[in-house]
Subunit: 128 residues, 6 copies
């Protein structure tokens, strides 16, 4: 698998991002995703910065944002992201019943997405 | 583009589904998606039946379900589905601000999904 | 849209491939796909050569091969390929009922593919 | 990996589906896919119900349906589904030569799908 | 299609980004992509900011970066992005011959990507 | 995982391709990809033949071609291909800094590809 950069081996710019993540989340260590990204410190810094902005509370509450992130990750088939955002959604209060319904919506979307494309359905004028 | 089966040309099994959709949604005609699906009445019937079950109110409210559907459709890049579920989410109350944040989450997920896969990041044991 | 190279404007290497396609298929002109590929004659020649080998009759009959091609193109969401291989499958005898069932299988696969990935299901040992 | 619900721990609605699968297939236990889906019994029941309808013999024979399912799963890159439907196709009689040709068609489709999209080829009027 | 926000209708935060893009590129107006993104000014600002950082000259020259962007967009099948980054690569000096070879590499990658996944090939230990 | 055909068990047509790969690359054994492909010798031969043509030096130098292959494989999320073409790019001289920038471009493309599709942005007339 990929090279994971540990805190003690990280260059200063990466260490600063690790510190920011640990402080924001109140955790003793960062996830593997961040350790892997540290192979390119500018991408590590930019990704954390963007993610913090995007996931901040706003017009959508944090649990809904996390479930949207999980749904998009399931639709894209990213195993790591499904695992990490699934855990994050649980931590923010997603119940088993909510998870089951999210799963059903994502699966249904996959089926109708495919049907709409396979049939090359023209967009209804009233949608625009 | 695809062949769209109009109500007057639809076989009885398809017409029954069209009637059910119109009644459930209180609309005078069905969307192009359903007219296109009518080329195979068993798939039309099964899809409507499944969709009704999946989108019924439950542990998640209808707007959240619709936004999850939209996010999954955006992640899959289905233009028709983005248009139809975007319109449906608006009809269920999605505001401009909520739409903007949903878009940002989906875009961010696309970026981190790709990074996690490109780096082949191993799943953290604590996620499972 | 893309630049389409017409026969009269094509360089000799491209013209030779156009001639081979017209002869093999008994048609007066080639499809847009080949005219578009002619912007890079080596890719045009290689693609036609590979396609001819892959689609030749073998352990699978030509209609089954064409339906597999159509199913894969639907799963990948390629609108042009769905249109062209849909037309080719019709020309090789695909009936409305067979098309409807193919569509249903592709849609069902999209749904269960997504579910298997979303749930990160481990492969059963007996499959290998 | 994912949580797999065993028969003895399954709630009654899930157990009923497990029983139906075992009876239909004449097997002593269900695959991991169904055990994973049992985290949401309504999705488990709906998926089995839909799959049974879609895969029933019809205008296409069961082996062709299974090969279409396999081709679509390969095009979508779902490892679990490739393993399970590959095993199912073998069980229904797919030979090594047929498998090799299916693989070649799926790979060729991936290449030409990408080329058609990269070149943004306009659909030929005669396809519609 | 989507709503495009013109300069005169844009809110101040969006207008500032439009001005920055026009200044950086020396163009009288921004592309549709930016006008569409202006429906959510924070995403517009964040995207322009990230793009500027990522595409700045560095260890890779601007033409190579633009060709990598084009290749990734082709692999993802994004028609708009193929058109816009294709035009950008041409503007940075991509020749017809380079474009043809890029197309061939992307198509070949699509085929071998699919084969590697369809065959579920285990990663060779020496790659890591 | 998949069945890997070793040299000593390979049929003559597959062995000839293995010999050609070993000679061209100066390696004592072929990668797992080729051993897996040997289950269908015609696909093995055709794939090696195509790959040799596509990756030969031309208007783009071998390192740029390899990086384009890697970028396309990352965009498609093929873990095996990311590992093998990542190793090949390193062998052809890709530095850590170049790898980091390639990763950033691919991630950025994923985000803007998704945004362009989610917003259904119309192609600017001047791109064509």
């Amino acid at each position: 698998m990929t090279r994971l950069v540990q805190y003690e081996d990280a260059p200063p710019e990466a260490r600063a991002v690790f510190d920011a993540i640990k402080a924001a989340r109140g955790v003793p260590d960062v996830n593997n995703f961040w350790k892997a990204l540290a192979v390119h410190p500018p991408t590590l810094a930019r990704t954390w910065d963007s993610l913090s902005q995007v996931m901040a509370p706003g017009a959508l509450n944090p649990l809904v944002k996390e479930m949207l992130y999980l749904a998009a990750s399931m639709a894209a088939g990213c195993a790591y992201c499904i695992a990490s955002h699934g855990a994050a959604a649980r931590a923010k209060g997603m119940t088993d019943a909510q998870y089951g319904e999210l799963l059903a919506v994502v699966a249904m979307a996959a089926e109708t997405n495919r049907l709409a494309e396979a049939l090359r359905v023209p967009v209804d004028p009233r949608f625009d």
